[in-house]
Every structure is written in structure tokens, then in C-alpha cells.
């Protein structure tokens, strides 16, 4: 076993010192995606007020990289379902979800969206996870804006560490 030279003895090391770093492609893609979430607000009820204060000046979730509000499902990454979903509205919600391009995530905000809330009757869907898959649930009637910010941070953690799919590598 010969003696291993110190790394700075390689001339290339010295030449490129501090100008690059090594990481994993999966991590970088997740890092990029989690700070550029375009969200589509699907707002039907009073939780929308809390969504608005979370999105506007006082709490301002643009600080977390969720600033871009799109009203086209084809150009959005995250579906923000806020409020009561009735059976009459369920086909609309599913169509909006299916129009979104991969990768896509869903946040369900408020008790009515999670479980129907107080509306246990003929008209209301008992939780939107019966229609579309949901990533983060926000309980509360209505939830505080801080809870919405917390949910966004949890979704960002999920995006960061999930198995990313990209052009030549798709999700199983």
C-alpha cells in the first residue's frame, strides 16, 4: 500500500477549488420543485378567507415559494382544495385534478374538505380523499393561517425527499 497523496496535490483540485459541489440529482430536483409550487386554489367555502390571509400580506406564503397562483389547472403543481365539496361538484373537482400535469400534489384544507365536517347529509362528500388522492390534510374549522403555512412546509419536506420522476425516469 503506497502513501495516498493529499487531495490538494492534484492540480485539477487546485484549479477548480470552491467552484463546484457534488450532490444527488434527486435532491436537486426536489429542491427546485419545492420552492416553485404553482398552486391552483379550489375554493368553495368560508375557509377561503383563511386561505386569502395566508396568501396575502399578513402571512404571505410567497415567502415559502408558493407565490404563483394559477387559475389554469394545466399550469399548476399543487391543488389547494378549500371548503365543502358537494356531490354535485365532485365531477368538477376530479376533472380539475386530472387536467393537472405530473408531478402534482393536493392539500385539503378545513374540516369539510377532510371529512364533510358538520355536513353529514345527502349533499356533501365525506372527505375529498374519496375522490382524489391527498398529500397533506389541514384540520380546523376554519384552520388558522399558521396551520396553512405549516402544511406548506410539510408538503415541501415531502417534495424534497420523495422519489422524483423526471424525463427519462418515471414514477412506478
Amino acid at each position: 500500500m503506497g502513501r495516498i497523496k493529499p487531495r490538494h496535490h492534484y492540480p485539477e483540485e487546485r484549479k477548480y477549488k470552491g467552484s463546484f459541489f457534488a450532490t444527488k440529482l434527486n435532491y436537486v430536483i426536489g429542491w427546485g420543485r419545492k420552492f416553485s409550487i404553482f398552486h391552483y386554489p379550489f375554493i368553495t367555502a368560508c375557509c377561503g378567507m383563511e386561505y386569502m390571509s395566508a396568501a396575502c400580506g399578513h402571512w404571505d406564503f410567497d415567502r415559502f415559494g408558493v407565490g404563483m397562483t394559477t387559475f389554469s389547472p394545466r399550469q399548476s403543481d399543487m391543488l389547494f382544495v378549500v371548503g365543502t365539496i358537494s356531490h354535485k361538484e365532485a365531477p368538477v373537482l376530479r376533472t380539475v385534478y386530472e387536467q393537472m400535469c405530473e408531478p402534482k400534489w393536493v392539500i385539503a384544507c378545513g374540516a369539510c374538505t377532510l371529512s364533510g365536517g358538520i355536513y353529514d347529509n345527502y349533499a356533501v362528500v365525506q372527505g375529498i380523499d374519496k375522490i382524489i388522492p391527498v398529500d397533506v390534510f389541514i384540520p380546523g374549522c376554519p384552520p388558522r393561517p399558521e396551520t396553512i403555512l405549516d402544511a406548506i412546509e410539510k408538503l415541501q419536506d415531502k417534495i424534497q425527499y420523495q422519489q422524483q420522476d423526471w424525463r427519462w425516469k418515471s414514477k412506478k
Partner: protein, 163 residues
């Protein structure tokens, strides 16, 4: 014109059609027969009574009673500041009543709502369709015998045991 005068005129003119006069929650209530609804409303809407506004029109389900449904009409006179409530009992097997769309335009959607939720048919209504529930919904959800947790989803739910 005072509301008492209106009531007295009604007592004289429609003494066979009105079965009961009373005061409930500060408003005068008259119970009338189904056939005389349009005559009484025509009389009340004209001057000098001027009941020009239909505040609300709805239905109540008294399940288990002989005449199961009760239509309730709230009238208001803007010029005289009078309120009057009309009530009509309907039999479950003959759930029909004259439409008031020829008197008030807003009766159109109110009657569609009552048809949607209770199944009352309105004679002479121009467009009697469901207002809130979707095509293919069976039954009338605000009736007391509609099951509390019966749901009729349009699209299939993701997990089968979901209601």
C-alpha cells in the same frame, strides 16, 4: 291600511275559503283551502291591500299527520308595511297546488326549490325542474323519511365502503 282591516275584509269576502285566523310571532296567519289560493292572492295583491312582495315560499313536512305537507307563503305590503302569512295543508297522495309565478317572478325559483326538496307539483309552472339537486337524483331530500346518510354520488368513490 291597517292589517286588521285586511283581515276583516278577508273574513267577509272569503269566509268559506279561510278555515282559521290566528296571530303567530306577531304576524297574522290565515289557513286557507287549496282551491282558493289564487283568488285570495289576487285579492291581496291589488290596491288597496298592495301585498306586492312575496318574501318567501316554502313547505313543511309534518310526517305522520293526516295532511302531511304544509305550504307557507309570506307576503309583504311595501306601501302599507303589512305582513301576512298564508298556510295550506296538502295531502301526500295529491301533492299539487297552483303556481304563483303569474303573480310574482321570484315564485319561479322558490317553487322549483320546493319541488326539488319536497316533491310538490305546481300547476301552471313554466319550467318545473330541480333547482339544487342534479339530474338523476332520486327522492326528495328534505322529506323526513329520506334516509339521513343516503348519498347518491355522480362519480364512483375511490374506496368502495365510502358513503
Amino acid at each position: 291600511m291597517e292589517i286588521e282591516k285586511v283581515i276583516n275584509e278577508l273574513k267577509v269576502k272569503f269566509k268559506d275559503d279561510i278555515t282559521e285566523f290566528s296571530i303567530q310571532f306577531g304576524d297574522h296567519v290565515i289557513r286557507i283551502k287549496r282551491e282558493s289560493l289564487q283568488d285570495i292572492v289576487r285579492f291581496l295583491k291589488k290596491t288597496p291591500h298592495n301585498f306586492s312582495m312575496l318574501l318567501d315560499l316554502t313547505c313543511v313536512d309534518y310526517i305522520g299527520e293526516k295532511l302531511r305537507f304544509e305550504m307557507v307563503y309570506h307576503l309583504y305590503s311595501i306601501s302599507n308595511k303589512n305582513r301576512l302569512r298564508l298556510k295550506i295543508r296538502l295531502d301526500e297522495n295529491d301533492l299539487k297546488i297552483d303556481s304563483l309565478t303569474s303573480f310574482w317572478g321570484n315564485a319561479n325559483w322558490l317553487e322549483r326549490e320546493v319541488f326539488d326538496m319536497y316533491g310538490v307539483r305546481f300547476n301552471g309552472h313554466p319550467d318545473l325542474r330541480r333547482l339544487f339537486m342534479y339530474d338523476g337524483f332520486e327522492g326528495y331530500p328534505l322529506r323526513k323519511d329520506y334516509p339521513l346518510r343516503k348519498r347518491q354520488p355522480i362519480i364512483p368513490m375511490r374506496n368502495e365502503d365510502a358513503d
